[in-house]
């Protein structure tokens, strides 16, 4: 079956699911728990996009995400380079990184909020601590797998140590960085969302708790749907950036 045919069936499948959801939501479901898509769309404007408080909460979350992500990339790259610079350094310190990576970080969430407060700082910090690990792991790996033939070849052309770093190592590391960016973005987003949901006194956590506790499924669905769409768009943006910077990769 052709790709276009499959895509069509997939779209029909999704449309069918939405139809089922609509019928179930309208006629069969407990209206305190499930809202049909039509209701969700109806409240989307007034309660979510049109409500400045909600919009501000979402905007703030985006700001926290951007800050946490930028910090994770910069600090992660620097740490990764430092750890990966020498074989001894890597063998000594890399296990600590892996150890920390293996802990379910969510148990540290109350601690982060305790230390950084309930404002954006705690959420940025928590997102940062999630996003930094894939960057470090990939940077260390990148430093190990520089192709030695390329280094030797460039040295044979008369390149100094600086020139080798500029023409061989740096472009290689940039490629490695972009390979890990999508995962880092997803992890940072995870951290920020966890922190936001945890702090129920303001921000996204306030509204999710409000809608859930007052059994208002339509605005809750709408809010979550908005966040999901944002996440998908962000993922696509990072993927596009990656494609542009790795054009040379056949």
């Amino acid at each position: 079956m052709s790709t276009a045919g499959i895509r069509l069936i997939r779209l029909l499948l999704i449309a069918a699911l939405i139809a089922v959801w609509e019928i179930y939501g309208r006629f069969f479901a407990n209206s305190a728990l499930v809202a049909p898509p039509s209701h969700v769309l109806m409240v989307l404007w007034p309660k979510i996009i049109g409500d400045p408080r909600v919009l501000r909460a979402v905007g703030l979350a985006l700001f926290e995400l951007a800050t946490a992500f930028a910090l994770a990339v910069v600090v992660g790259t620097v740490l990764g380079i430092l750890i990966g610079l020498s074989e001894l350094g890597r063998r000594s310190f890399y296990p600590f990184v892996l150890l920390l990576y293996a802990i379910p970080q969510v148990i540290l969430l109350p601690l982060f909020v305790l230390l950084f407060g309930i404002g954006p700082a705690g959420k940025i910090a928590f997102g940062f601590s999630h996003g930094i690990f894939p960057i470090i792991v990939n940077t260390v790996a990148g430093m190990r797998n520089v192709n030695p033939v390329l280094v030797r070849g460039t040295e044979a052309l008369g390149a100094s140590r600086v020139a080798v770093i500029r023409y061989v190592i740096l472009p290689h590391m940039v490629t490695t960085l972009f390979a890990s960016m999508r995962l880092a973005m997803t992890m940072t987003l995870l951290g920020v969302i966890l922190a936001e949901l945890f702090v129920s006194t303001a921000g996204i956590g306030y509204f999710t708790q409000l809608f859930a506790e007052s059994f208002a499924p339509a605005p809750l669905f709408a809010l979550i749907g908005t966040l999901a769409v944002m996440a998908i768009i962000l993922n696509e943006l990072v993927r596009l950036a990656e494609a542009r910077f790795t054009r040379w990769k056949d």
């Binding site: 802990i103 379910p104 969430l109 230390l115 997803t186 969302i193 945890f198 999901a228 996440a231 998908i232």
Partner: protein, 252 residues
């Protein structure tokens, strides 16, 4: 690695750990302000003993462990089944695999409030949430495992007259096993993390709730006791699973 290098690495690592522990001890003993946020090690230890002796430790752990077990069972059975069925047909594969992997690319955490809405604050919401989250890597890996079986091997064993069951037993199953097990491992740790996360965010019982509660009540020593316990258990689990996987891999 040369034995001498190994000793050097071990000494560096030992020195780092010793320095951190020493810094913890001395800084919390010298600064009152710091000990509000980071209690001295012996207070964390005594809190742990109190929590363990009072039965709170086991009560919360029991809830969490049961939740994880149920969530993982659902995710594992569901994930492997769905993965296997989807991988059997090329059409189903092209239809569903992109949907699943696309969905998994979003942090499913943002759907957590829905689980609270549907299932309430009890363990059921965490079971459902954990099962949903862990389902994806298991299903996706199972799909990958079964769809990447070398056609050459299938043809070879068919030509030897094997029936469907024998084909599965001798070719499909062993070929798909490593990738599927990787998925089960990833799903396991995702299940643990999401159950703990759910308990921390919104729960009445469980280890996650205990951590959140002790933070709320500013009982920092107790909170650290809980955190350290979970960290130690998770690390041990990681080592066990890693060892088991290596053993399985070597034998297959």
């Amino acid at each position: 690695m040369v034995p001498r290098d190994r000793i050097l690495v071990a000494s560096i690592q030992g020195a780092v750990v010793a320095t951190l522990l020493g810094a913890w001890y001395f800084s919390t003993h010298s600064s009152r302000l710091l000990s509000l946020f980071l209690p001295p090690p012996e207070r964390v230890w005594s809190s742990f003993q109190v929590v363990a002796a009072s039965g709170q430790l086991w009560a919360a752990a029991k809830v969490t462990l049961l939740t994880i077990a149920q969530a993982y069972l659902i995710a594992a059975v569901g994930g492997v089944l769905v993965g296997f069925l989807v991988a059997r047909s090329d059409r189903l594969l092209k239809l569903f695999e992109p949907l699943l992997s696309g969905l998994f690319a979003i942090p499913l955490t943002m759907f957590f409030p829905l689980f609270i809405l549907f299932f309430g604050l009890g363990p059921e919401s965490k079971i459902a949430y954990g099962a949903t989250y862990a389902f994806f890597p298991i299903a996706l890996n199972t799909i990958a495992g079964f769809s990447s079986v070398d056609r050459l091997h299938v043809r070879a064993i068919r030509s030897m007259g094997a029936n469907a069951f024998e084909q599965f037993r001798y070719v499909y199953f062993p070929a798909a096993l490593p990738v599927t097990i990787t998925g089960l491992r990833i799903g396991f740790f995702i299940c643990i993390a999401s159950v703990l996360g759910g308990e921390t965010l919104a729960s009445v019982t469980g280890v996650g709730r205990s951590i959140a509660l002790s933070a709320e009540l500013m009982e920092t020593a107790r909170m650290y006791a809980w955190i350290v316990s979970v960290v130690l258990v998770t690390l041990v689990l990681n080592l066990l699973v890693y060892a088991a996987e290596s053993r399985l891999r070597r034998e297959s």
